[in-house]
């Protein structure tokens, strides 16, 4: 063995000439390593593959002319983009390569942003300067930012687009879910433009909770909110029996009596007909906001207010009566309007709601009277679990920054993330796992369990991944700001009345309010006062196909006049005068021409009803009573450009001439039916 090695050594390095020759050879090989590495580099392989692909195609000449060899780079210093992705992804701009099966060479799908303006990593993330697949797409030790998985791709959009966009349904859904589930009661989430994501779940105050419900119900509820209502947004804290006992004891103990106290009108009588409650519930359009399970077990109704399937188990009968009579008494901040029911109606509706029970829910809960030690322990638990982050509780301050801030969660370095068994080793994987089952990361963690579908978890993950360093630090010109609600409130006596009726729960006025009902910002220009008072007295059906409709609030004449005066005065567009087109200008010939336009040229009857006896379209409001409802000037301007008067309306702009708009207005203003199908039948 040793002899053999010695002879080899002698052969190469035996004398100075041999040694020189050998060393030169080694040097030459070493020198060749670098160019060889370059020659065999991955991107050259991809470029050869690409050339091979396009040479087999019919439009090879064109494609070859577009091809540029060597490392390609998109450099946009303002956005810190240095992307060499186009070195391998050579067909991104080639329309004819939309159908190739190799993902690397396929044309980029149509998006509103150009490659040269935004680069690749702005939306897709990954390592722009890298020239190997592994480094560009995945995490390596030095470079951590991997590509965003396709299902979270809208997180890329969300870094700049803070507004609700048509093209990003999951991002929108994720942001809504974050608000809806009250995530930001505990976590601060600041957007790039300095605004915050706010919660809109409206957790109830617990200051007077003992007036509303029993300790047994609270016990069962905090043990498992979803056992009471599948739509509950309160998460599950997985409390032990003893902890739930002590928390319920404390919550009841801290509650003070309402001032003035709840009083039930003794002389009120619920209607004897058992169907009366159901029909009052229907007539008052409670289902616009509240869901309730029907006999078939389906949830029917809106999600503005809480589900009412088991309300009789939850709420005390006297509280229900008090609430139905005037919700402001128990909760001045509620979104629920103050219906002006008479005492008998209150009793009827309350007894209907009382009959909606879930008998199994709290039936097996038997609690001994609470001891002082238990109450004290309950208070400790309430503080530890941050209950006051969401709920108002007597004697406990809302904690500040109870949970980690999530403003930059999408850029969190993996080295700062603690992974557990079964969680994919990536940031999206971590965020999704945390939302799905927070306690999997440690039984002592405080974050509770939310009830979300896999798709909702992905949507929330998308919205959180959009919260990156880039989103926070990029130049303001890159950002499309979110539309924030204004702080508008109607003023004066009418303002108080409109606040009492919670008009803004459903209607938007001057940029503040809900999206369930039409924007009323220019309502004073649109409608006639006579019609408005009649409508407030007894709301008729304007859109026959809608389930959600304006309820009857049982207003007094004085209240109706106050609201009508205010609407007619304050809600006027500055663009034109509502009286600028008097009815005397319309001739019978114009009316006839308008009728032709309505039925033939524009086929308005597809969506609107002008005559209840023959028209059937019910997408838009019925127009049979236009002459009594609207001002001619409004109709005239609306026909020319509906979107300017009410942004987002689905009425198409028909691009009609002024003469056409005038004739059509003449025809519509001649429609004087009282406006309901029933009336037409009579």
């Amino acid at each position: 063995m040793t002899n053999m090695l010695k002879s080899v050594w002698r052969f190469f390095f035996g004398d100075s000439a041999r040694a020189f020759g050998s060393v030169s050879l080694i040097l030459l090989v070493l020198l060749a390593v670098s160019p060889a590495k370059n020659h065999f580099s991955q991107w050259r392989y991809y470029q050869k593959q690409y050339l091979h692909l396009i040479r087999g195609r019919a439009d090879a000449v064109t494609l070859e002319r577009h091809f540029q060899g060597g490392i390609q780079q998109i450099w946009i210093p303002q956005q810190q983009v240095t992307d060499r992705c186009t070195t391998c992804h050579l067909g991104l701009k080639e329309a004819s390569l939309a159908d190739v099966s190799a993902v690397a060479f396929r044309k980029h799908p149509v998006v509103p942003h150009s490659l040269t303006e935004f680069g690749c990593t702005t939306c897709h993330r990954g390592q722009g300067p890298a020239t190997t697949v592994e480094e560009a797409h995945n995490s390596t030790e030095q470079w951590e930012q991997p590509l965003l998985p396709a299902k979270y791709i809208e997180a890329g959009c969300g870094q700049c687009h803070l507004e609700k966009q048509t093209a990003t349904p999951f991002l929108n859904q994720g942001r809504e879910l974050i608000s809806r589930n009250g995530c930001t009661h505990c976590h601060t989430i600041k957007r790039g433009d300095g605004t915050y994501i706010l919660s809109d779940d409206g957790p109830p105050s617990l200051k007077h909770v003992a007036d509303k419900t029993t300790r047994e119900w609270i016990y069962a509820w905090i043990k498992d909110p979803h056992a009471y209502a599948s739509t509950a947004t309160m998460p599950n804290y997985h409390l032990s029996d003893n902890d739930a006992r002590d928390i319920s004891a404390f919550v009841i103990a801290q509650s003070t009596a309402l001032q003035p106290p709840i009083q039930v009108q003794a002389d009120a009588k619920a209607a004897e007909d058992p169907a009366a409650g159901t029909s009052l519930y229907g007539q008052s359009f409670c289902a616009s906001c509240h869901a309730m399970q029907n006999a078939a077990g389906n949830l029917v109704g809106g999600n503005v207010g809480p589900e009412l399937t088991g309300i009789g188990t939850k709420a005390k009968p006297e509280w229900l009566q008090d609430w139905v009579a005037n919700p402001n008494h128990y909760d001045p901040d509620t979104m629920m309007p103050h219906y002006r029911f008479d005492a008998n109606q209150v009793a009827t509706l309350a007894s209907f709601l009382e009959s909606k029970t879930e008998p199994d829910f709290a039936a097996n809960v038997h609690l001994e009277p609470a001891t002082a030690v238990q109450i004290e322990h309950g208070k400790k638990l309430v503080i530890e679990n941050g209950c006051a982050s969401c709920h108002e509780i007597n004697g406990i301050k809302k904690p500040e920054n109870f949970a980690p801030e999530l403003s930059r969660i999408g850029s969190k370095p993996l080295s700062q993330v603690l992974f557990v068994e079964g969680v994919e080793h990536s940031l999206p994987g971590y965020v999704a796992a945390k939302v799905r089952n927070p306690r999997a990361f440690g039984p002592s963690l405080k974050m509770p369990q939310f009830s979300l579908t896999p798709q909702q978890i992905d949507a929330i993950t998308t919205a959180l991944l959009a919260q990156t360093d880039q989103a926070q630090t990029q130049p303001p010109a890159m950002r499309i700001a979110s539309v924030q609600q204004t702080k508008y409130e109607p003023a004066g006596h009418a303002g108080q009345l409109m606040r009492d009726l919670r008009c803004l729960t459903c209607h938007v006025i001057n940029g503040h309010g809900g999206d369930m009902a039409p924007d009323l910002t220019w309502e004073g220009t649109a409608v006639q006062r006579e019609w408005l008072t009649q409508f407030l007295r007894n709301p008729e059906t304007l859109r026959p196909a809608l389930i959600r409709r304006m309820p009857k609030f049982n207003l007094t004449e004085e209240e109706i006049n106050t609201v009508a005066d205010y609407v007619m005065t304050a809600y006027q567009t500055p663009e034109f005068d509502r009286d600028s087109l008097p009815a005397s200008e319309f001739t019978p010939a114009m009316v006839e021409q308008g009728r032709q336009l309505f039925y033939s040229k524009f086929a308005c009857q597809s969506c609107h009803i002008a005559d209840f006896t023959k028209d059937k379209g019910y997408i838009g409001p019925a127009l049979a009573g236009t002459g009594k409802r609207f001002n001619a000037a409004w109709v005239y301007h609306w026909l020319q450009d509906p979107q300017t008067l009410r942004p987002g309306t689905i009425e198409p702009n028909q691009h009609m001439t002024l003469e056409e708009a005038r004739s059509l207005t003449a025809f519509l203003m001649s429609l004087n039916s009282t406006g309901s199908k029933e009336a037409a039948k009579k």
Binding site: A58, D59, A60, V61, T62, A95, S96, D99, V103, R106, P109, V110, V111, P112, P149, A150, K151, Y152, I153, T166, A167, P169, F170, V300, P454, Q455, D458, A545, I547, S600, K601, F602, A603, S606, C607, K616, G617, Y618, I619, Q643, I650, P652, N653, Q654, H655
Partner: protein, 243 residues
């Protein structure tokens, strides 16, 4: 002695390096029965989004010779690159069915997924289902469709959205009506949407949307209509001169 050790080590290293380990197969199924047919129960022809799980799981059923469901038969799901199944294989339950959640790949378009089950002779019975993945442009189209078009163009009613189709004298084509819509060129579709029915001698009940929607919105709608067409739309493509 030393030499022998060295030789063994080298040999071990060599064999280890050269052997190609076969890919880890999922725990193989132990079917207790075999069917004679595999049929779709639900979940075919869904419209989903790239990279996302479909709304409804895919449910297939294995039937025996008498047409009754077979429990305990093995069902395997396969699909094009990027499609994932949870689970990818399973035994049929007591009602003869297997339910799998399907996530589509990263390319917009149609995905043919295949569910297969071996029959008694070991021959594979196959069932293929089409699923549609919407990309960015089609998603925009889908959203616009839901806002502006669906009320007339979709005959289905839901409690929150009553179909207006029956109220129209000329019935609009549902966007899935490939037999009709595939024959209309992109340019013509864009013209009808932009200028309304009368522009192409069709019903005035179709209003012009060109003054309400942008050009890119209308292009997105067309791409959505093409994506959901049934039978599928096949683009003619550009014809280039041969070299």
């Amino acid at each position: 002695m030393k030499r022998a050790l060295l030789a063994t080590c080298t040999l071990m290293l060599l064999t280890d390096g050269c052997s190609h380990k076969t890919k880890q197969q999922p725990a193989s199924l132990q079917p207790t029965a075999a069917g004679t047919a595999i049929v779709e129960s639900s979940g075919g022809k869904q419209i989903g989004y790239i990279g996302m799980p479909l709304d409804q799981p895919v449910v297939v059923q294995v039937n025996g010779a008498s047409g009754s469901a077979v429990a305990g038969a093995a069902v395997y799901f396969t699909g094009p690159t990027g499609v994932t199944f949870t689970p990818a294989s399973a035994l049929t339950d007591s009602s003869g069915q297997v339910t799998s959640t399907v996530s589509l790949g990263q390319q917009a378009g149609r995905y043919k997924i295949v569910a297969s089950t071996p029959d008694a002779t070991g021959k594979n019975l196959q069932l293929s289902l089409d699923e549609i993945a919407l990309g960015y442009q089609q998603t925009v189209g889908a959203q616009l469709n839901a806002q502006y078009c669906i009320r007339c163009h979709d005959p289905e009613s839901t409690p929150l959205r009553v179909s207006n189709m029956d109220n129209l004298s000329v019935k609009p084509h549902p966007f899935t009506d490939g037999d009709t819509l595939n024959k209309i060129s992109d340019a013509e579709l864009i013209a009808i949407i932009s200028h309304g029915g009368p522009a192409l001698n069709k019903s005035a009940e179709m209003p012009p949307w060109g003054y309400t929607l942008s050009k890119s919105d209308i292009a997105a709608l067309v791409s959505y209509i093409r994506a959901v067409a049934d039978p599928p739309y096949e683009a003619g493509g550009v014809v280039y001169a041969q070299r």
